[in-house]
């Protein structure tokens, strides 16, 4: 193995990637983690994390991810700020192309995560950053004493709607079904919050632009009656699921119909020597707690694979 070759290259630095990095660094695998931004992933857009064990009062998303990074770096994980653009087989190794010098590695862990979905309605793309937002913790403070709409019905939509009540005068939560998918404690809080009004069986069909070039309203459609109405909101926050960051992996590993990476129960992908961990993986529950479990399993599997295939004794 030459100096520029790695045992393991991890693509993505959210909870899954950093945990894989922690385990691999502790196993003394020569490991490099490549992350497009600073480590942290989607958790960085979370104000307060209440369901990650070990923090009885909760913990800020930023603080949690900063601690995960520090913990991995304590065991000398190398982290590079760069965007992966392609990965391919080269003999017994894999070659990763990214913004910097190419990397060669014996194994790969894909932990690129996911990004918020867009709804694809008129006005959405044009008004992104001008009243359309996918991050309440980033943009909520711009909506003091304003009316805003939150679209979605899962945990993220519920949490962000509650967060926005700190700033907005009224939060309209619009959900296409007649019950929320969000977990029980969040449903209770939403019911108890006077600033939140839930619009059941309702979708947004368009986002309107005002004279200032910013959002001035949202057009709603009641899915049961077919009636449309207009909400005079200044902000529209969209939390309608996520899409995986796997465009650069097409043809390299098998993806499901939504683009998530298919794995077996031990997280192996269709490509031997490559595992997937965290939100990017085809699975049912995408949480910080499930991502860190994935990261540990993936790193462990990579370690065993290297021992077997390359006959490296444990250090």
């Amino acid at each position: 193995m030459t100096s520029s070759e790695y045992d393991l290259v991890i693509i993505g630095g959210g909870p899954a990637g950093l945990t894989a990095g922690l385990y691999a660094a502790r196993a003394r695998l020569k490991t490099r983690l490549v992350e497009k931004l600073s480590p942290g992933g989607q958790v960085l857009t979370t104000d307060w994390v209440e369901n990650y064990p070990g923090f009885p009062e909760g913990v800020s998303g930023f603080e949690l991810m900063d601690k995960m990074r520090q913990q991995a770096e304590r065991f000398d994980l190398e982290i590079t700020s760069s965007e992966a653009t392609a990965v391919e087989r080269q003999g017994e190794l894999f070659r990763l192309r990214h913004d910097g010098e190419e990397l060669l590695s014996r194994t790969i862990v894909i932990a690129t995560g996911a990004l918020p979905n867009t709804l694809g309605v008129p006005g959405e793309a044009e008004l992104t950053g001008k009243g359309v937002s996918y991050c309440a913790t980033c943009d909520g403070p711009f909506y003091k004493e304003s009316e805003v709409a939150v679209i979605g019905g899962g945990d993220t939509a519920a949490e962000e709607a509650l967060f926005l009540t700190r700033f907005a005068s009224q939060v309209h939560l619009c959900h296409r079904r007649d019950e929320l998918r969000a977990t029980g404690v969040l449903r209770e809080r939403l019911k108890a919050e006077p600033k939140v009004r839930i619009h059941w069986s309702t979708t947004v069909t368009a986002i309107e632009k005002g004279e200032s070039g910013q959002v001035s309203g949202a057009v709603l459609k009641d899915l049961k009656t077919g009636r449309t109405s207009r909400l005079p909101v200044q902000g529209v926050f969209l939390f309608v699921g996520t899409k995986p960051v796997t465009e650069f992996l097409k043809g390299f590993v098998e993806l499901d119909s939504q683009g998530f990476v298919k794995t077996d129960p031990e997280l192996a992908t269709s490509q031997a020597g490559v595992w997937a961990a965290g939100d990017v993986r085809s699975k049912t529950l995408r949480q910080i707690s499930t991502a860190v479990g994935d990261g540990a399993v993936a790193a462990y599997q990579a370690e065993r694979y290297i021992e077997n295939k390359f006959h490296v004794p444990r250090k």
């Binding site: 600073s38 960085l44 700020s81 965007e83 991050c135 913790t137 943009d139």
Partner: protein
């Protein structure tokens, strides 16, 4: 990599440091409460170093400087606006990768 080549601007000096600057200026509208803003900080520091002498990278804290954020209609952060000769040439919203910011920079240089 450090903040060496990054200039912090306020509402008061925006005209002088950005609008009347003799180089293009990439202004990052950010706030301490915003996680993704922190996530792109190292990218901006790297770009400030790489393009030193050709482009200025400036940061404006929207919390302390609401006037410019309002003037330019910034209601999502991070937002990066690239000014040249006092005019807006490019605008990027959200924490994007280095390549995407660099593409915008190359268009104006």
């Amino acid at each position: 990599m450090s903040e060496e080549n990054i200039v912090h601007v306020s509402d008061e000096v925006f005209e002088e440091k950005v609008i009347k600057a003799d180089q293009p200026v990439l202004v990052d509208f950010w706030a301490a409460w915003c996680g993704p803003c922190k996530a792109i900080a190292p990218t901006l520091e790297a770009l400030a170093d790489e393009y030193a002498g050709k482009l200025r990278v400036a940061k404006l804290d929207v919390d302390a400087n609401p006037k410019m954020a309002t003037k330019y209609g910034v209601r999502a952060i991070p937002t990066m606006i690239l000014f040249k000769g006092g005019e807006i040439k490019e605008q990027i919203t959200g924490a994007v990768g280095k390549a995407q910011i660099e593409n915008a920079i190359k268009k104006v240089l």
